[in-house]
């Protein structure tokens, strides 16, 4: 399974980190080993890493989010655009 990094900005890093368990739940259908990363210099840039079985399915889900996914993104303070990086 390729390791994917989804990078984006957030409204508030502490708020985003507060939803760690919920984020893992939201992303669990797409992959495993969900890890959160934050900017070391205090910026509002964050990234989520996970091992993904079907990269295209994840990209499609994020591009056209279901109501549940869209609600979670708003709740966590995700600021588009989202950038996908893949392990090579």
């Amino acid at each position: 399974m390729p390791k994917i990094i989804i990078a984006h900005k957030v409204e508030d890093v502490d708020r985003w980190l507060g939803y760690k368990a919920e984020r893992a739940a939201v992303l669990s259908p797409f992959g495993s080993d969900v890890t959160d990363h934050v900017s070391m210099d205090g910026h509002d840039d964050v990234a989520v890493g996970l091992d993904v079985a079907d990269v295209a399915a994840l990209q499609a889900a994020v591009a056209s989010p279901s109501p549940e996914l869209a609600a979670a993104m708003q709740r966590h303070g995700v600021v588009p655009p989202l950038t996908f990086l893949i392990e090579k």
Binding site: A25, V26, P67, L69, A71, A72, Q74
Partner: protein
């Protein structure tokens, strides 16, 4: 006004009416942010039922009427819509109704807790707060709304008034309005049997996880 945006506002208003999360007289208002401009399209008729294109106005996010006829009763609540767009750059639609069961909670000054799993599934796992009362749309009322709104929570009850929902798209705003009303109705019914019981925090996450799993699997056909 742009025909496409007018039609989108009319569709959103019809969707609110269709959802049933509205009072019998249809009182309420819907607005859509104009992409790339500091403006919104706003319903100016007293009821969302039977709304036509002549019931839409264009308003600047500073509250200035830019196009159309805005009656006093609707003009009075413009500020609570513009405030949501000003404060939340991701918000594209604001819906205000007097949906009966949620408004009952607003009148009783009782927040809605996570009593039904739809709240956990659609970004309301921490419930819906109540903004203190002040005359509708007044500076004090808007300040109360701003103080009550929790980051990432797309709804607030307006004490002694109604409900305000704000989300990225009209579909999501209407969906959340319906979920809030459903939770409020269930809670009022449950109060005849000892009162509603909140879903434990870990089970709210589990409910969201299960919903996402089914979402990802998609529609099954046999």
């Amino acid at each position: 006004m742009e025909k496409d945006l007018v039609e989108r506002v009319l569709a959103a208003a019809a969707s609110v009416v269709g959802s049933g999360a509205i009072s019998a007289n249809g009182h309420g208002n819907v607005s859509l942010r104009v992409p790339g401009a500091e403006e919104m399209y706003f319903t100016s008729a007293p009821s969302l039922k039977g709304l036509g294109a002549d019931g839409i106005v264009r308003v600047g996010l500073d509250g200035t009427l830019l196009e159309g006829n805005l009656p006093p009763i609707q003009g009075a609540v413009v500020a609570m819509h513009t405030a949501m767009y000003q404060d939340h750059p991701d918000v594209g639609c604001v819906v205000h109704t007097h949906s009966p069961f949620a408004t009952a909670h607003a009148v009783a000054h009782r927040p809605i807790d996570c009593w039904i799993e739809a709240l956990a599934m659609f970004g309301l796992a921490d419930g819906i707060p109540v903004a203190d009362y002040a005359p509708r749309g007044s500076e004090q009322a808007v300040a109360n709304i701003r103080r009550a709104v929790r980051p990432g929570v797309p709804a607030v009850l307006l004490a002694n008034h109604g409900v305000l929902v704000f989300h990225r798209t009209p579909d999501l705003a209407v969906l959340v309005g319906g979920v809030v009303e459903e939770a409020a109705q269930a809670a009022i019914n449950a109060r005849t049997m000892g009162g509603p019981v909140e879903i434990p925090a870990d089970m709210r996450v589990a409910a969201l996880q299960r919903a996402m799993a089914f979402d990802t699997a998609g529609t099954k056909t046999a």
